[in-house]
Every structure is written in structure tokens, then in C-alpha cells.
């Protein structure tokens, strides 16, 4: 019984603020803390706010591209780790691939920033902070998450399926495309959605590698909040929460569902 109470408290602590924020996004009053009746005007206002729309569009593009890159690279890393049991530097490789999971984001962001600046001076690319730098940064750290998801799926997959395909005359590439890929597809989708979610709500790393010309949505929200909380932020945040929630729900379903 006590445990349930504790559980209820924990969930309340985590989710009541979000619920409150969502409720106040439908507040007619301009004062964030005073309820002035139901209204969707802040959503309408958002849709006319060029700056917010641009940021949202940029975030979406970055999330799609970086999630795709992370999924391709992360899957390759997972296949190498699971199917090639013995090669020089395997342990090092396994460690390096998953290290960003536990690396403080501030450090990753700073390191990437330093790298981009140094590269710009050395070879002239990337020119300034732009969508490119954000995509590269997001792709890099979400790759680790994809690797973990795909790796666990591959571990559970019966390796004799691939051997059987090879035995039946399929060359390694055909085996991968016809057998391995369809069987790990749910994990790829889950990994992609996870990478997408990580990218779309990232603030810390983005704040290092984004520039004046390219600010993703969380950065814009963050800077708006510093000037004082306005109800349209609540509306924006509600949309982001809904989007992320849906993505995670699909990812969870796919990853845990059909084996």
C-alpha cells in the first residue's frame, strides 16, 4: 500500500507540472498563472509566429536527417559487434560506440564545437554553425542509442537463420537484405524514432553547435523563456510533448511488440 502511495507521488511529481502546463496552454488569460477561461488563441498565435515556425521546421528537418544517419551507422555498428565476434580492437570499438550514452552532454557539445571550429580553420568546412553542424552532432550521439537497440535485437535473432540463407545459396549481401534486415526492421524503426526524439528535444548539444542563422525549436523556446514566460510557450511545449509522446509510444510498441 505504502509502495503505491510512493509510486503515485513519484508520478505526480513527474507529470503534474506537464499536465499543468498543458492545461494553461488553453488559458485565455495573458497571465500564465491565472486561469481566465478556455481558449485556443495561443495556438493560433503560434501559427503566425514566423520565428517559431522556422525553428520548428528546422528541428523537424534536423531530426529526420540525423535520425536516418544515426540509424544507418548505428545498425552497421551493431551488425559488426554481434556478427563479427573476433577482430582486433573489438572491445575498444564496443566501448567507443556506446560511450556517448554516458558522456556528459555539455562535454560532447563543447568538444564538437571545438572540432567544427578547428575544421573550419583547417579546411573551410563546415562554414559557420548551421543545420549541417546540428545534424552531424545529433547523428553522432544518437547513433549510440540506435546501436544499443539494434544490437539487442540481433542478439536475440537466431544466427542459424543467416547461415541457412547462405547455405541455400545466398551471398552475404543478399542474406543481409532478404533475411537480416526484415527481421530486425522493428528495431530499426524503434531506433530511428528514438534518435528522432532525442534530436527534436535536445537543448544542450544544440546550444553549442547551432548558430544565429539556424536555431532549432528547443533553443528558441529556451531564449523566449528567458524573456519571461508567455502562454504561447505553453502551447508550443504542449505540441512538442505530444509529438515526442507519440514517437516514443510507437517506438516502445515496435520494440517490445512482435518478436
Amino acid at each position: 500500500m505504502i509502495l503505491y502511495v510512493l509510486l503515485a507521488f513519484a508520478y505526480a511529481f513527474l507529470y503534474i507540472p506537464i499536465v499543468v502546463m498543458m492545461v494553461f496552454s488553453f488559458n485565455a488569460s495573458k497571465l500564465v498563472t491565472v486561469w481566465g477561461g478556455f481558449s485556443t488563441k495561443w495556438y493560433a498565435e503560434l501559427l503566425t509566429n514566423e520565428k517559431v515556425l522556422d525553428a520548428a521546421w528546422l528541428s523537424l528537418k534536423v531530426a529526420v536527417v540525423s535520425a536516418t544517419i544515426a540509424t544507418v551507422l548505428g545498425t552497421l555498428a551493431a551488425v559488426v559487434l554481434v556478427r563479427f565476434r573476433r577482430f582486433h580492437g573489438r572491445t575498444l570499438f564496443a566501448g567507443m560506440v556506446t560511450a556517448p550514452l554516458v558522456m556528459p552532454e555539455v562535454i560532447v557539445g563543447l568538444a564538437l564545437l571545438l572540432l567544427f571550429v578547428a575544421m573550419e580553420q583547417a579546411i573551410g568546412w563546415p562554414a559557420g554553425r548551421s543545420m549541417t553542424t546540428i545534424v552531424v552532432a545529433h547523428g553522432t550521439f544518437s547513433l549510440s542509442f540506435v546501436t544499443v537497440v539494434v544490437r539487442s535485437r540481433l542478439d536475440r535473432m537466431d544466427a542459424s537463420l543467416e547461415e541457412a540463407a547462405m547455405d541455400l545459396g545466398a551471398r552475404p549481401l543478399r542474406v543481409f537484405l532478404s533475411i537480416t534486415l526484415p527481421l530486425i526492421a522493428p528495431a530499426l524503426l524503434a531506433g530511428w524514432l528514438l534518435a528522432f526524439t532525442l534530436s527534436i528535444d535536445d537543448v544542450v548539444i544544440s546550444s553549442f553547435v547551432s548558430g544565429p542563422g539556424a536555431s532549432p525549436l528547443p533553443i528558441v523556446i529556451f531564449s523566449k523563456v528567458r524573456l519571461g514566460i508567455s502562454p504561447d510557450i505553453n502551447a508550443l511545449a504542449t505540441i512538442v510533448v505530444a509529438l515526442v509522446g507519440v514517437a516514443m509510444a510507437i517506438a516502445g510498441r515496435v520494440a517490445l511488440g512482435r518478436r
Binding site: D158, S160, M166, D167, L168
Partner: protein, 374 residues
């Protein structure tokens, strides 16, 4: 067998598969140790051994999943040692069956044929033919998870047969089936093999399975082939203590040769009151340490002393295991040694039924006492 009765006895017959000094090491572990083996066309050959004896590694090397550390493998005269699995004329039926879960039964079978670049109608016809062969025609559109274990096994077999391989490899093919189904499937597999004429190489740890199905058996232990022979040879004439002990039950008596003649070798065993006469033809020197092996069913048990010319020993019944069709009598000899004798229960109301602590005579023919020197 429809094949020439025993191609392995014909020196002119060229084997289909040859292992030529094949070894496989995993790090420091020697899984397969200098194996030489010849398997002929049309054979149903079994590799039999306890788990970890190297039989599966040997099979996987034949399929191409493992590369030998030493030696060569030849199939139909061609050296395939360095040929990848997808180019070898062999197909393997996996212990887990390894059916592709995202394809239908027909899709599974067609997969291998598509790799050969066959035309669609040809593939469809072949799929139908093999499904009919294994009596699974009605299940063509099912997914593997909608099939029972026995049905999956048939599909896995059909998938291999569709490729018309020169050699079909079976890795513990019946291990996942329950006992009743297994016995039925054993005979069915042999019948199918008979019909298609493909050479089968099977790995199993189940000696009954190997005896029932095989034309010849290779008994493996610690990476080496201990003996190769027909089921009868392996059972009746094991060449080593290991094989005698591994296949079936055996009473083993340690002893030394006391005399040898053209009629056979006489062995003195400290555990037996009388010297053992055997029909062992090889004249061993006196004092040579040997083991004499007698199968339990070759021992007659009774209350009366046996006729002349038989080996015999006296003891009391210590234990009786009644198995229905047969009973196994554990007899304690006067020396304290326990011996197993097996007798068929022909009539269940025997007048002179033996029971615990009865004094009995065990007797066996010299020809049934096998001398083992290894």
C-alpha cells in the same frame, strides 16, 4: 538401401566426400583432431558422439561455416576447403530448423531456388513437388509459427531437398521432437532418402537414432573418429573400450592373456573364477593386458550350470529392472563384481521365475566375448 549394398567395401569405389587430415582449433581448444573420413554416394552416414566431441564442428566444416585449421575437404573430387557455403553442393538442415519467420512455407522453399536464378514457373513446380514429397502440400501458405514442430521439420527438409544437393547435412534433425514422433520420423527420413537417393550426413548424440537410420556410423570422441562401421559392426565388434562402452550396455572385464591358439585367446580375469575363452583371432602374447566385453543380452541367466564350452560365472541376483518387454538382472558374482544380464520376458507366467538373492549361473558363448586391446 537401394545403393550398391556396401560401396565402402569396394576398393574401386570413389568416395563422394573425403576428409583429409582435417583439424579445427578454436584458440587452444582442439575441436576436431586430424580426421580422415570417406563417405560414399547414397550413404546415410551418422556422426555419433557425446556433446562436445567435435561432430557438429565437423559437419559445419562440411557445410562451409567453419574453415578447417588443417587438412582438406573434398566433395565429388573437388577440393571445397576454401569454397564459401553459398557455392557448395551441400545443404544443411539445422537443429532449430532455421525457417525464415517472415516467409511462408512456400516462400522458404523458393528462397533457395531463387538464388539459383530459376524461372518462376520452374520454382513453383519444384516447390510443389518437394512439399508433396514431405506431405506438406496443404500448408504452403502458412507461416512457420503456425506449424507444429513435426511440420516445421518437414518444411526444413523440403527446403534442403528442393536444392537437389549432392549431400544433405542434418544437425540433430529429430532432437526437438517428442519420442513417439521421433521414431516415426526416423523411418520416414530413411524412406525419403531412399527415394531421392541423396547422400545424407547426420550428426546425433542419440545412438538409437543412429542405429536405426544409418548405413554407417562414425563414433567420435574428443575430436577424433574412434571407429567407422555399420550399426552391426559398431555394436557387435567395437574396436575400443570407448566405443564398446558408449554404444549400448557392456560388461567389461579387465584381464591378461594367459594363452592364445588358433581357436582364440584365453584370458585370465581376477574378477571371474574361470579363465575366459574367446574367439579372438589375433594371437596376442601371454601377459598382454586386455579388456573382455560381453553384451548383457548375450549372457544367459539360469539356475542350472551351463553346458560345456561356454564361459560361465556364479552369483546371486542383486537387482531386477523389469522393463516390460525385457528384464535386466544385476548379478553379484562371487568376487563381488556386478554384472548385467538381459533377458526377454517371453512368457509372463514363468514357472521358475528368478527373484532377489537367487543363486544363478551366467553363461555366454566364447564368440560373444570380445577382446579389446585399445
Amino acid at each position: 538401401m537401394t545403393v550398391a549394398p556396401a560401396p565402402w567395401t569396394d576398393p574401386a569405389s570413389v568416395p563422394l566426400i573425403r576428409f583429409d587430415g582435417v583439424s579445427k582449433r578454436f584458440g587452444d581448444v582442439v575441436a576436431v583432431d586430424r580426421v580422415d573420413l570417406a563417405i560414399h554416394k547414397g550413404e546415410f552416414f551418422s556422426l555419433l558422439g557425446a556433446s562436445g566431441c567435435g561432430k557438429t564442428t565437423l559437419l559445419r566444416m562440411l557445410a562451409g561455416f567453419e574453415a578447417p585449421s588443417d587438412g582438406r575437404i573434398l566433395i565429388d573430387g573437388a577440393d571445397v576447403t576454401a569454397v564459401p557455403p553459398y557455392e557448395r553442393p551441400v545443404n544443411m538442415m539445422f537443429q532449430s530448423y532455421a525457417l525464415f519467420p517472415h516467409m511462408t512455407v512456400a516462400g522458404n522453399i523458393a528462397f533457395g531456388l531463387k538464388q539459383d536464378g530459376l524461372a518462376r514457373p520452374v520454382i513453383a513446380a519444384k516447390v510443389k513437388a518437394v512439399l508433396d514429397l514431405v506431405q506438406m502440400g496443404k500448408f504452403a501458405d502458412r507461416k512457420p509459427h503456425q506449424l507444429s514442430g513435426g511440420q516445421r521439420q518437414r518444411v526444413a527438409l523440403a527446403r534442403c531437398l528442393a536444392k537437389e544437393p549432392k549431400v544433405l547435412l542434418l544437425d540433430e534433425p529429430l532432437g526437438a521432437l517428442d519420442k513417439k514422433l521421433r521414431q516415426q520420423t526416423q523411418l520416414e527420413l530413411v524412406n525419403i532418402q531412399d527415394r531421392v537417393g541423396v547422400t545424407f550426413v547426420m550428426v546425433t548424440h542419440d545412438q538409437e537414432e543412429a542405429m536405426t537410420m544409418s548405413s554407417r556410423i562414425g563414433v567420435m570422441n574428443a575430436g577424433r573418429i574412434q571407429q567407422v562401421g555399420t550399426p552391426v559392426e559398431i555394436y557387435e565388434y567395437p574396436q575400443s573400450r570407448y566405443v564398446a562402452d558408449f554404444i549400448g550396455a557392456a560388461n567389461m572385464f579387465e584381464g591378461t592373456v594367459s594363452s592364445a591358439s588358433s581357436a582364440g585367446v584365453v584370458v585370465a580375469c581376477p574378477e571371474l573364477a574361470h579363465d575366459l575363452t574367446t574367439a579372438h583371432a589375433d594371437p596376442l602374447a601371454g601377459g598382454h593386458p586386455v579388456t573382455v566385453m560381453v553384451r548383457p543380452e548375450k549372457m544367459s541367466i539360469g539356475r542350472d550350470a551351463p553346458a560345456d564350452g561356454f564361459n560361465w560365472a556364479r552369483g546371486t541376483v542383486a537387482d531386477i529392472a523389469y522393463l516390460g518387454d525385457v528384464s535386466i538382472y544385476h548379478v553379484r558374482l562371487d568376487s563381488g563384481r556386478k554384472v548385467e544380464a538381459l533377458q526377454a520376458n517371453l512368457r509372463h507366467t514363468e514357472r521358475h521365475k528368478l527373484t532377489w538373492d537367487d543363486p544363478v549361473f551366467l553363461s555366454w558363448h566364447p564368440a560373444d566375448a570380445l577382446v579389446l586391446t585399445r
